[in-house]
């Protein structure tokens, strides 16, 4: 799924064979075949984003939105941000960025370790495929259910508290296992590590084993091989995984809502609440700022690698 290589166009000899369809018909056919997919992205991605940008510049009151240009929505968003104590927007972003940093800090090494084990330590191809599937199957099941499934473990009388009490390690149950920052990060790691594993595994699987042999023959230690051979070649996978984690966590409102007991702020949640109160221009302005923030972070990540070479 992360094989980001454009398939090579069919060789020209195909068009040159006598029975082949003439090139102009081939080209027309290609446009026709790509049109439905392109249309879906135009109608449900490009136009909506453009409209969001436009509406973010509109005025609104309690009853309606008014198509008149204003920058007020953006001004409201950053109202008071220049004062000494931080404004709500900056605080919300800091909280969300904190989740991004924590999730990255855990999913990256974890995903790398799992992918490394699969790619380098599992010798049989069938076993490797089976274990790889084992890691990806939960991705195809419901996220909300997977969040709920932490309740019996983390709750006040949950398995974790009961076990710790049974062992005599704690007297009173630990509050704040569930419905806390901890629970939110735990759920992010639970749900999103797969987005790290798959691209990193893909990168690792492509590494020519002879490079590693050569490094070993040259006298490199295992740590040196990891640092100087494997890690640089795994960089594209790491970057793609990080891009996924950044966008998933930055825009999240479901995980923060369910695992935070609807008490923790996040940028996505602010947008959702504004939509519920029909403050569309404010929500749109928020969405534009979020999009810009995410794109900036992605740009930073792609700087680390030459993504173009991967495409």
């Amino acid at each position: 799924m992360t094989d980001l290589a454009l398939p090579a166009a069919a060789p020209a000899t195909v068009a040159a064979t006598p029975v082949a369809t003439p090139p102009w018909r081939r080209r027309a056919l290609a446009y026709l075949q790509a049109a439905p997919l392109t249309l879906v992205f135009l109608i449900f991605l490009v136009v909506p984003l453009a409209l969001t940008g436009i509406v973010s510049l509109w005025e609104y009151n309690e009853y309606e939105i008014i198509p008149a240009l204003t920058l007020q929505n953006y001004a409201d968003l950053f109202d008071g941000c220049l004062s000494a104590d931080l404004c709500t927007t900056v605080r919300t972003y800091l909280s969300t960025v904190k989740f991004v940093a924590l999730t990255l800090a855990i999913t990256l090494p974890l995903g790398f370790a799992v992918a490394y084990f699969l790619a380098f330590h599992v010798r049989s191809g069938t076993v490797r495929m089976g274990l790889f599937l084992l890691c990806t199957i939960p991705f195809w099941t419901s996220n909300v259910i997977r969040m709920i499934s932490w309740i019996p473990l983390l709750g006040r009388n949950g398995l974790v508290n009961d076990t710790l009490r049974g062992l005599g390690l704690i007297r009173a149950p630990i509050e704040g296992l569930l419905y806390s920052d901890f629970a939110v990060v735990l759920a992010f790691v639970h749900l999103d590590t797969v987005f790290m594993i798959v691209p990193i595994f893909n990168s690792l699987a492509r590494i020519d084993r002879r490079l590693i042999e050569a490094a070993r023959d040259g006298g490199a230690s295992s740590a040196q091989i990891l640092r100087n051979v494997v890690l640089p070649l795994a960089k594209p996978g790491i970057a793609i995984g990080a891009i996924f984690v950044v966008t998933l966590v930055m825009g999240d409102f479901v995980t923060v809502g369910v695992m935070g007991g609807q008490q923790i702020a996040s940028v996505g949640k602010v947008i959702q609440v504004q939509m519920a109160y029909l403050q569309f221009p404010a929500a749109a302005a928020n969405a534009m700022v979020l999009l810009a923030a995410v794109l900036l972070m992605i740009l930073g990540l792609t700087r680390m690698i030459d993504l173009r070479r991967e495409l």
Binding site: L6, T17, A20, V40, F44, W140, S142
Partner: protein, 297 residues
């Protein structure tokens, strides 16, 4: 790399095993707890084993018609699946031939993945609201009767369908890219040399060879739609899909009924995943068998 297993193997193997436990443990916990006895609660211990909570679930959860939501999600999932396979397949063929703007379309697909879901959802919601407003304005201006009782264009098979496709199509396209990269054009040339027309080549050569991959795309199409929540949230009319109802229930339901619902939902996903993986294996085996049979004189 076939050296004796070192400590690194056991360390990483341990991490892997713990990760798998972490991945599946919680889900298995609620599977067990959904068979909680009638007097049991949301946590262990199990007060007996029963199907009490499934029976309660069957009778309905409060005011929410959970079964209608499940039917809606199933139906939408099937439609998204069919469209994802078809659109991604044909787009994959187009990319293979190459066309002007291919890079741009590819960039669109990738951005569809990395634009935060809430932003996509809000955009589609806004688009449909503005469309509704425009239709109402048109009705007021023209007095055309058939536009008078216009409600909303937003709905399961309009805005929600589109929102789901923005999430499933990129995955489908990327899978097909990976597959077409390894697809030998010699098969098509051979078919064409033997006099097959374009559609015949597609039907009898390309599709059978790609069948396992297409099953994979279908799997992504259905399951990602069936569980989709963030992109649907602002882009659905009055009637919710199952994940949306589920999210609402997390704050209101405090009995193992919600675990029973979780078991049912996971069972649907597991059934689909099992069918897809089984089908893929069977297709690959059949192809291998036929290839062998073809080698015999």
């Amino acid at each position: 790399m076939d050296q004796p297993r070192g400590p690194a193997f056991y360390l990483l193997g341990g991490i892997f095993a713990l990760y798998v436990l972490f991945l599946y443990g919680p889900t298995l916990t609620i599977l067990a707890l959904s068979f909680q006895g009638p007097s049991g609660g949301l946590t262990f211990p199990m007060n007996g084993v029963s199907t009490h909570w499934f029976a309660k679930l069957w009778a309905g959860v409060g005011v929410v018609d959970i079964w209608a939501a499940l039917r809606r999600s199933l139906a939408l999932g099937l439609v998204v699946m069919a469209l994802t396979v078809t659109l991604a397949f044909y787009a994959g063929l187009a990319f293979r031939k190459g066309f002007r703007g291919a890079g741009l379309v590819f960039a669109l697909a990738v951005s569809s993945l990395i634009v935060p879901s809430i932003v996509v959802s809000l955009g589609i919601g806004l688009e449909f609201r503005l469309l509704d407003d425009a239709i109402k304005a048109l009705a007021a201006a023209t007095g055309w009767g058939f536009l008078e009782d216009h409600g909303t264009l937003m709905g399961l098979y309009t805005s929600a369908l589109g929102a789901h496709l923005t999430w499933t199509l990129p995955f489908g396209l990327l899978i097909l890219f990976a597959v077409f990269n390894r697809f030998d054009p010699a098969y098509e040339e051979a078919a064409r040399d033997l006099g097959a027309s374009g559609p015949q080549t597609l039907r009898h050569v390309v599709v059978p060879i790609l069948a396992p991959a297409l099953v994979g795309v279908a799997l992504f199409g259905f399951t990602l739609s069936f569980d989709e929540l963030a992109r649907t949230s602002q882009a659905i009319g009055g009637r919710n899909t199952l994940p949306l109802e589920l999210q609402g229930l997390t704050t209101t339901v405090t009995t193992p009924e919600i675990y029973a619902l979780g078991t049912v939902t996971t069972a649907v996903s597991a059934l689909v995943i099992g069918t897809a993986l089984g089908l893929t294996l069977w297709l690959q085996k059949r192809r291998a068998r036929r290839a062998l049979a073809g080698l015999r004189p």
